[in-house]
């Protein structure tokens, strides 16, 4: 009987460690992976094609649904591309709000990443810890935009509205006693900024907790150290960005190198790895959370003392306020035109990129002068990372595939678009 050596294994699309809908066809020699062929596209919704049939503003909501764990960062990439083509800039307060929310989003993303990554590798507690903090940040999302996940908060020319003065309070229900309610509402009595500041004060302690659980954990290190090593040269060749690139020792962060919003005004450091393995990328992301926290704090301090407009005043692009619409004919017409037709971008093309929690998120817009994009291309970091899957997993064991999917921080909303 001939000896059968290679074995093909189907991993996913319903495997919990596949982070959604990844179908991975693995060619294995025993337990060692010879070739990995990711089949993506199970979540392809044609966002770019849909955007071609809608006025520019109506696609902002689609951006949230790309990488659905870092919603506002996606919006930021899109509105930056629009602003570049329109030749407008958001008011400075809006830029600070965006900076703050980008970092809140970064923490949200990294919290989900570390929770899911640790869960895949076998540490259940991390998931619960991470979601405890995520809950608070999602409350902030809810307070400013009304939605906990898909905020649609950014607009070309600013943000939808200024930060509210109150935080929504917990209400009494059969699940919470009066004492619970009082405890939960303790930090919510002030404005949104107060709540965020309170969060930034306790968050470093939370990160310490995560580190106590993982950084020196023997099992965690056995599963992560020396798994999925990428050399700096290969990282560049494979198009890796974000923490995947910095983990390999390349100091590249768009927030520092090609600053947008208010990143040139705030003080923060870029953590860089040494070995380019999964463990280094873990350390990089943990440090990024601490740095994000630092940025948020600076933004809160600035926003407290600098009131002002949060959206561009040109009503050909941004709607006038509700009150004006009721009394002023011109405001009414502006609103009508924006709602029925939108605004036209000048003919041309632009590419705007931001440092998304996962890497470089870019939007390339081709406009023929119409009120809808002629072509919108979204450069999602996860797509490039996923394409490196084959090279990263080659020669590793089956169990390491789970680690590598985790370390890449894959979300299929952006890979499949």
């Amino acid at each position: 009987m001939p000896e059968i050596r290679n074995f093909t294994l189907n991993f996913g699309p319903a495997h919990p460690a596949a982070h959604g809908v990844l179908r991975l066809v693995l060619e294995m020699d025993g337990e060692v992976i010879q070739r990995a062929d990711p089949h993506v596209g199970l979540l392809h919704r044609g966002t770019e094609k849909l955007a071609e049939s809608k006025p520019y503003n109506q696609s902002i909501g689609y951006m949230d649904r790309l990488d659905y764990v870092s919603m506002m960062c996606n919006e930021h990439g899109y509105v930056l591309a629009l602003e570049k083509m329109l030749g407008i800039e958001a008011p400075i307060r809006a830029q600070y709000i965006r900076t703050m929310f980008d970092e809140i989003t970064r923490i949200l993303n990294h919290l989900l990443w570390i929770g899911a990554h640790a869960l895949d590798v076998g540490a259940m507690t991390m998931f619960l810890y991470a979601f405890r903090e995520r809950e608070d940040l999602m409350d902030v999302y809810e307070a400013v935009s009304g939605a906990r996940l898909h905020a649609t908060y950014y607009r070309p020319g600013g943000v939808y509205r200024d930060l509210p003065d109150t935080m929504p309070l917990h209400e009494k229900s059969r699940w919470y006693s009066d004492a619970d309610i009082e405890r939960l509402n303790q930090t919510r009595s002030g404005s949104v900024l107060d709540f965020i500041e309170d969060f930034t004060n306790r968050f470093p302690g939370c990160v310490d907790e995560y580190e106590t659980l993982l950084t020196d954990n023997r099992i965690w290190k056995q599963r992560l150290v020396d798994i999925g090593i990428v050399s700096p040269e290969r990282a560049l060749q494979l198009g890796l960005t974000g923490a995947m690139l910095r983990g390999s020792g390349i100091e590249w962060d768009l927030r520092k190198k090609q600053p947008y919003a208010m990143y040139d005004q705030v003080d923060f450091d870029i953590p860089v790895g040494v070995n380019g393995d999964s463990y280094d990328r873990y350390l990089v992301r943990i440090e990024e959370m601490r740095q994000s926290n630092k940025i948020i704090k600076q933004c809160v301090d600035w926003l407290r003392v600098n009131p002002g407009s949060v959206i561009h005043h040109d009503h050909k692009i941004t709607p006038p306020n509700r009150e004006a619409m009721k009394g002023d004919m011109e405001a009414l017409i502006h609103h009508f035109k924006l709602a029925t037709e939108g605004y036209c971008l000048p003919e041309g093309e632009a590419y705007a990129a931001i440092e998304h929690p996962k890497g470089e998120f870019g939007c390339y817009i081709v406009s023929d002068g119409a009120n809808k994009p002629y072509r919108l291309k979204i450069r999602a970091p996860g797509f490039a990372h996923m394409s490196a899957m084959d090279e990263l997993t080659k020669g590793h064991m089956l169990a390491d595939v789970v680690t590598i999917i985790g370390t890449m921080d894959i979300v299929f909303g952006e890979v499949d678009r």
Binding site: V40, G41, H44, G46, E48, K49, L50, E52, S53, K54, P55, Q58, K84, M85, L86, G87, I88, L236, Q237, L238, G239, I250, W252, K257, Q258, K316, T340, E341, G342, C344, L345, P346, E347, G348, E349, A350, Y351, A353, E360, G362, Y364, V366, D368, G369, A370, N371, K372, Y374, R375, K377, R379, F383, A384, M386, S387, A388, D416, R417
Partner: protein, 233 residues
């Protein structure tokens, strides 16, 4: 920033003058246009030259210029007619007829490059010669990250990449036909899928919903923002 781009532009023009069709700096971005036959040579130069140093490929993007500049609502006349396009067909031969009316080069491949060493970007654009069978050379050998991006452009636009190691569909379903991001592919798609109780399996049928447009595509003559962008340069 703009000055540095100008310098880069002149450097590229000096080194590869005959290979560059056109170069343009707009909105602080440098775009160079090359013929498909020169793509590999220009790409290799851009990666290896010290002044350029584009070691990272960020994006490969297909563009279909079939309906470029077409609007659905006439703003010059006084007609109130709703200019919704309903003339699509499931019959492929009819679709191809509207294709033939198009003059010029229909498909473009746009490559975005980033130099980490020199901190600059460039956009490389190439138009495919043949509208029926668009082909360009693959840059996978030069930048490995192009692999999936080119597969995507093939899948969505039907642009063939010569020398690509594994040009398969990537985003669409197994057994999908057509290239969905082409402008003559309807937004609602060609087929819909349902579970058939009698046949006890999933069946595909032509779509039953009507295509509709909520907001017509309008091109305005007064480009109030184009002036602002020119001043910025």
């Amino acid at each position: 920033m703009s000055e540095a781009l100008q310098k880069l532009d002149t450097h590229i023009a000096d080194s590869l003058s005959s290979k560059i069709q056109e170069s343009k700096i707009a909105l602080n971005e440098l775009t160079i246009e090359v013929l498909p036959e020169n793509l590999i040579e220009v790409s290799t130069f851009l990666r290896d030259d010290a002044v350029c140093g584009f070691e990272q490929l960020m994006d490969v993007c297909g563009v279909d210029y079939l309906t470029y500049g077409e609007s659905e609502w006439d703003t010059s006349g006084s007609s109130f007619a709703r200019g919704v396009k309903r003339e699509f067909s499931f019959d492929e031969s009819e679709v191809n007829e509207s294709d033939k009316e198009f003059e010029g080069k229909r498909f473009a491949v746009v490559i975005h490059l980033l130099s980490i060493k020199n901190n600059h970007r460039i956009r490389l654009k190439t138009y495919c010669e043949d509208n029926e069978f668009p082909v360009v050379d693959s840059v996978t050998e030069i930048w490995n990250s192009a692999n999936w991006f080119e597969r995507e452009a093939f899948d969505l636009f039907g642009i063939m990449f010569n020398g690509h190691p594994d040009l398969r569909r990537i985003l669409t379903d197994y057994g999908f036909s057509g290239h969905p991001f082409r402008k003559d592919f309807p937004l609602i798609g060609q087929v819909e899928m349902r579970y058939d109780e009698e046949q006890k399996r999933v069946v595909y049928e032509p779509v039953s919903i009507e295509p509709r447009i909520l907001v017509p595509r309008i091109i305005r003559d007064d480009q109030r923002f184009s002036a602002a962008t020119e001043v910025e340069e």
